[in-house]
Amino acid sequence: MNDYAFLHQYLAVGAVLFSIGLVGFFTRRNMILMFLCTEMMLQGVSLSLVGWSRFYDDFGGQMLVIFILVVAACEAAIGLALIVVLYRQTGSLDIALWQRLREANQPPWQEDRPAPIPEEPAPVWPRLAPAGVRPAETDETTEFRDMV
């Protein structure tokens, strides 16, 4: 029974990873993240293969995973080179900039409204207290004062 349970779980995780990779591929416009999402899809496939390999007690699936690794490395090499060249052209990693090639009568796609960038709170760095000023006490200092 555990054979089937393991198989089913691996297939499920593989499918989930594949789908998450798909979502990312659809929604991210950063080319590197898109590439990363395709790698995530490949990881899902790899998990499925490992599950099958274990189920059948067969090495074929694992062989395929090895070659998936190799191919992923090759694709990474080519892809990164390509991305760098593309970046040189536009100064951006946005895939949506590359839509010049399309049907002649199609208007270019534009985002209707740029999404707001969430503001990050300004980081607060520890500062040295100026000379002659008593540093503000924190809970920490009061708590551990008697230990010092």
């Binding site: 659809f26 416009r29 399309r102 009568n105 199609q106 796609w109």
Partner: protein, 696 residues
Amino acid sequence: MFGIESLLVVTVVMPLAAAVLTALFGPRLLRSQSHWPTIVALAISLAASLLLVWQVAQEAEATHTARQNEPVPSAQPTSHSLGYERTLTLWTWTGGGEVGQTALSVQPVQDPLGPPPRIEVTLRIDPLTAIMLATVLTISFLVAVYSVGYMHGDPGYWRFYSYIALFVFSMCMLVSVSNFLLLYVFWEAVGLCSYLLIGFWYQRPAAAAAGKKAFLVNRVGDFGFALGVFLLWLTYGTLNFHDVQTGGQTQPGILGQTFLQQPEQYVGGAVGTAIALLLMAGACGKSAQWPLHVWLPDAMEGPTPVSALIHAATMVTAGVYLTARCLPLFLAAPIGPLVVACIGGGTALLAALIALTQTDLKRILAYSTISQLGYMFLAVGTGTALGVTAGMFHLFTHAFFKALLFLAAGSVMHAMGGVIDIRQFGGLRRHLPWTHTTMLFGCLALAGVVPFAGFWSKDAILLAVGQQEGLVYQVLGWAATATAFLTAFYTFRAFFRTFYGPERIPEETGGHVHEGPPWMTAPLVVLAAASLVVGAYFEWTHGFAHFLAQTPSLCLAGLALEGPRAELVSHSQVALLSTLVVLAGIGLAALLYLGSRTVLEGLTRASAAVGLYGLSYGKFFFDELYQAVVVMPLTGLARLCGWLDNQAIDRAVDDVGAAPRALGALFRSLQVGLVPFYALAMILGVLVLLGALMTG
């Protein structure tokens, strides 16, 4: 070498060669010298045809003499042939079935599928053909020479000569084939050439419209002709003129010896009448007889040499030729000759009346042509040897003087810079002496003044009509006489208004009025001389009638071979009457156009008051009538069909045809150029397949 067959082939083939040569080399190589192939070829053909006439005359005479000398065995009436003919079968086209299967039977073949279609591509020569060939080629040659001057500098020069040569070839074939199908083919071919030449200046809307009109009106007649040919095929099982010997058997031709010697074998009754009327319809179309006469005046939009050649001398006489050639068929029909005569006489009078008031010189001549053709039909329609001879004789003489008149009119037109309206010029005799003189000859011939050619032939017609019994022919005779008067009047009206009276030069001449070049005047002189002499010569020698009488289809038993010659008394009566009438016409014209204007104006006003003038000037409103009765309903129907076609059928077809376009637009609209979108589309495709897997 100069055997009759080879002469015939040479006569026919030379124009074709010239046409091909000019068409091939005209545009690039010959250019302004494009007339040479045609002129040379026509000269050769003319010589060959004259030789042909001479040889045919010799042989026919020999045959005739031999036949008269030998005793006619009454027991074997078919042992000798009627008339003289030679045929030259180039090849036989058999559309299925074995040659010689056809049963020898003079009985009409009733089964339409019985005999296999068997078309003999055969040339024939007999006196009728020989006369036609000689006439056609003479006029053609002279017109071709004339055109060198007239068409000089035209951008379509080579095209003109190519068409002319093609026309001459077609016309020669038309008169020399021995088969109804081929006759029909070349009937259409001359129509095509006519169409091409009327619309020669196709850039002009009027020329294009005239060409179209001629073509369409001719189609009406040709349709009848085609039906007639079908009916002939169904009735006689063959379309050959002549008998064909196959395997020792004789397949009788429609106009062959077998039938001619037993003329009672011709189918009469309703079928025979139908054949005659259908053939007559074709003849009416081609020869511009009422009610299909409307195209010929408009055909004057073509170049004047074309008018002279095709629309006066040669092509329009094809109908007369057809009628004469098929005379046995007409005679077999109860009312055939009468219909022909009525149409001819009526048309003659009608056209003469219209010609009275026309102001376009060429159109006057065109109506005159229609009128004279009516004369010929009237003559042939008498159905007697005298009548047919007279009709053919008139055809022969008319070719000369009408060509002369047209060429002279062309000369005037040439000098006037394209203006042809007689109201715009006058008193030209000093500027155009040659034209004046030659046109005077032509007018005299047309009016029928002694001793010009027209006198003799018209007299013969009047005589032939006058000799017929019956009220209809009497009426027709008086109509013909009236037409003679009218002819004289309108001819000289045009002549006087052109060459006499106060001198008026239209502005289009640019003040430079001059006689045409020798290329143009020489044919005028030749034709003028011919107009003077041909009638008198042949009338006095009786050579024409004697020669023509050797034609097989005119040797019918019903037509006495040597029919009753006109008695001298009646001949002189007719001649006297016609001369008086003609002189009256000329005198009236002189009175009206050389004398005081008041008489003319009074007369015009008077006739206009009772509507006669308008009727004549409006050409009896035949064009308008046809427009209202035929063209408008047809146009309406066509509009309706077009609307239905556009709105219903085309719309449906367009919608079907637009489906790929709409699909394509849909698919192309998916090509937005974005990678994520493409990936999404791929996954959606997979989703659909997964859905298919889940559900089924």
